[in-house]
Symmetry: C2
Subunit: 492 residues, 2 copies
């Protein structure tokens, strides 16, 4: 199997697409730009969801559900937000089909069933949610309102790629309302932190927390916090964003509250989201030319056990031993699959699980039974060892922890070695082309310079890191004075 | 609070709507026919989801996700299914908005951005899924394919009611593919059983398992299994359906598999679903004139503890005791909320939790501290007792079990006393009007008779019970011979 796969070196983009399809994660559907998330891919997404949902609830948030459709008049109420999404909106205009008189057995849109007001399929839900919050918020006692929604959204992108950019995607969107600016900013920062913690600890992906520049901000936000990751091809990927929305939506939808003194004030807002795009980040951070590599915390099963047998009698003997191993592993909290199919050879199974990124593989044959051993193979390092059956559960548990942290260390080393300080524009262009990664450079703070650099190099400012140190310098492009470096990169 | 509520007797429909809104379960949105599911309502839905998801996985199903949109050409491929849903389809025709030259700051649909082929917002996903399965199924080795999806769907209903009938609703839809007819029928029956088990054990709602008549079948199904419940106003509610789809979708989308002998055969299919409609069934089965009544297994919190205090010192003393009670209850697997807000009086809290159906309320005041007692109130019976603090966790746990089974027994007694055998049409009409409930009557087996009865009485055949006994008789309407009774009712 490995033999026919395109390598990252040969064609990174094809490597990625082939991997998503071959590892049974997702595929393109019959609907332009929309994907089908296959069971193996969806099982990973479920693990992402479960842990994030736990973290959201732990930080005081509740889930709710708001409509898929946004009437156009609500959609356009917050002008910047509307303008930002207008060009990629799927619009429902009719509510009925009828038999097509010209094509028996076929249907056409019933021209009589035109909606009085068009409905936008939500590209994000600030508008519908803030029009609802108006009815929920009267007094400071109703605040803060801390709500999250798991939903599908649609953005009509012209160039789509599985997980990374699809017309429909799954995500969560938090929408909170606060009495003060300070509290709203603290919430936006808290949730960006939750994202960073999750992505680092569960996905083993190192991220840089930062602020977006004005040009890169969410449409309708006063400030956008983000977490930025670096892929193996040297391109950055925005893995999550958390927005301080000021009073923009409260003003657009007239959401005021009575403060303790009895005065009326506009409510302060945040919103924050991560999506199935995280799947793309996961795949591109850890995988290799042999296929997917999964951090144990997100693997649908962490261990697969493959019996090597010549006949049914041998299989029975092996299964007897394996049943105990499975029991011990499950008791230790390890998820395990025993693949005793007799329709597939061990070698083909090995290849499949390698391609699908199962963290550990245990093979056990007749000789192992005699010796009281098993063969243990790590997916991340592709190394194998023969080890004692005795104490295998403890060994596996330790190995899984080691794999989880090794993946993070490896990705961190790559990321850190791909943050390059550059001090003039020639160097900027050369490092960008030859080495890639993040370029740490001085910038004069204008959108104009940002645009020009983007036009010339395709690099954008990914973020102004939150832990940035102040440092006097001159803009890498205009030479004008600057107080800090920012991170540029080409990005997904 | 109770005082101003409309009673079931006075206006059942208004009682229901008020309850849904006042208990903070859901509300109508700014989008015609679409609801907002509020956090308290959504928390119940999450419990429904979690348990069903567990049951689906236990029976070998995996989750996946398919596109929201169905291109019209795929939608119309299975003609009966398309015809069944054509009249209630939301249709996306455009993919972009633009500035409206006549209204500065406002948007209009960009006439240049018309889709070549219209997209139907899925009312159900057989079409998009079977067009996908075509690529997944080649051989008998690929079968069975056992997949479920949690998703939102849209059916453009003209008359909507919160949870019971909304333009958009949340549901799960299972879609399975099998090598044989027998296996597909067994799957449809299995999943109808899973639904019945869940609804009886978790929701405490008694259901009758049955088959739909041809007129009431799912569009595109060869057989529809269902579970039917009875509401307190004597109307039936279809709580879940499971369809044997024959080879209809396999033929429409040309999905064949190579059998063991190498021949090509069409695949056999099932689909099955339950939706947020279950929330309506839950509310209408158990609630009373004081508000919601929740079975403990679905209550977002099973116990609420309300301190009765005159000053902060008393509150501190009570809290010290309560903290231990909370710890004990959680250790016993009971979910509990301690409401120590000082902005609301105990009486108002009592009213709120009564309205929201919290199964057990514990009140504890200064005198209780002296006596080592608490006041324990059951929501289902509205009874109170003073009980020892000692051993409260065990007592609560037992009471919760008792409430769960009492609710079921009460609903079962009501349901069973509302199945009436009727033998002529005058009796049919009278019982239907005066008593309501299920009418067990002979029917001549024709759609014509079914239609006429529906026109005259609004009663439909809810199902032919699976455990029906054969019994010769004559049709309640035409007098023609019949071999078994079926269940008629007015229905939601």
């Amino acid at each position: 199997m490995g033999k026919n796969r395109v390598t990252r070196e040969e064609d990174y983009s094809k490597w990625y697409n082939d991997l998503v399809v071959d590892a049974d994660l997702a595929e393109n559907s019959g609907v332009r730009g929309c994907m089908v998330i296959k069971p193996y891919g969806y099982a990973i997404w479920e693990k992402i969801q479960a842990e994030l949902d736990r973290m959201f609830k732990e930080t005081g948030h509740q889930n709710a559900y708001f409509p898929l459709f946004v009437p156009k008049s609500l959609f356009e109420a917050e002008e910047k937000n509307a303008e930002g999404f207008a060009k990629e909106c799927a619009v429902v205009t009719h509510y009925r089909l009828q038999n097509d008189p010209d094509r028996p057995g076929k249907l056409r849109v019933d021209p009589e069933a035109k909606l009085e007001e068009e409905l936008i399929v939500r590209p994000t839900s600030e508008a519908i949610i803030w029009s609802t919050y108006k009815g929920w918020i009267q007094s400071y006692r109703d605040l803060p309102l801390l709500i999250n929604q798991w939903a599908n959204v649609v953005r009509w992108e012209m160039r789509t790629r599985l997980f990374l950019r699809t017309a429909e995607f799954l995500w969560q969107e938090g929408h909170t309302a606060h009495a003060t600016k300070k509290e709203a900013i603290a919430e936006a920062e808290l949730m960006n932190n939750v994202y960073a913690t999750f992505v680092e600890n569960f996905m083993a992906i190192p991220v840089i927390q930062g602020l977006k520049t004005e040009s890169e901000r969410f449409a309708g936000a006063d400030e956008t916090y983000c977490i930025e990751a670096l892929m193996q091809d040297g391109k950055a990927l925005q893995a999550g964003t958390s927005h301080f929305l000021g009073q923009n939506f409260a003003k657009a939808f007239d959401v005021k509250f009575a403060n303790k003194e009895g005065g009326q004030e506009y409510v302060w807002a945040t919103s924050w989201g991560v999506s199935t795009r995280l799947m793309g980040a996961l795949i591109m951070t850890h995988s290799d030319d042999q296929g997917l590599v999964l951090p144990p915390k997100l693997a649908p099963y962490q261990v697969v056990i493959v019996p090597i047998f010549k006949n049914e009698e041998q299989l029975d003997q092996i299964t007897e031993v394996v049943n105990n191993v499975v029991k011990d592993l499950r008791a230790a909290g390890v998820s395990v699959k025993y693949d005793n199919r007799d329709t597939m050879r061990p070698g083909a199974k090995f290849a499949q699980y390698e391609l699908q990124g199962v963290p550990l593989r245990i093979a056990i044959g007749a000789r192992d039974l005699e010796n009281g051993t098993v063969e243990l193979a790590r997916r991340d390092t592709l190394t194998k060892e023969t080890t004692e059956l005795e104490g295998i559960a403890t060994k596996v548990k330790n190995l899984l922890e080691d794999i989880q942290s090794s993946l993070h260390s490896r990705a961190l080393a790559y990321r850190d070695s791909h943050i390059t300080e550059v001090n003039d524009f020639e160097e900027f262009k050369e490092v960008l082309e030859v080495k890639g990664g993040f370029l740490s450079a001085h910038w004069d703070g204008t959108a104009e310079t940002e645009d020009k650099i983007k036009d010339l190099t395709k690099a954008t400012i990914r973020c102004i890191p939150l832990d940035n140190k102040k440092e006097a310098g001159s803009c890498v492009f205009t030479g004008k004075p600057s107080t800090q470096r920012v991170l540029f990169a080409k990005a997904y």
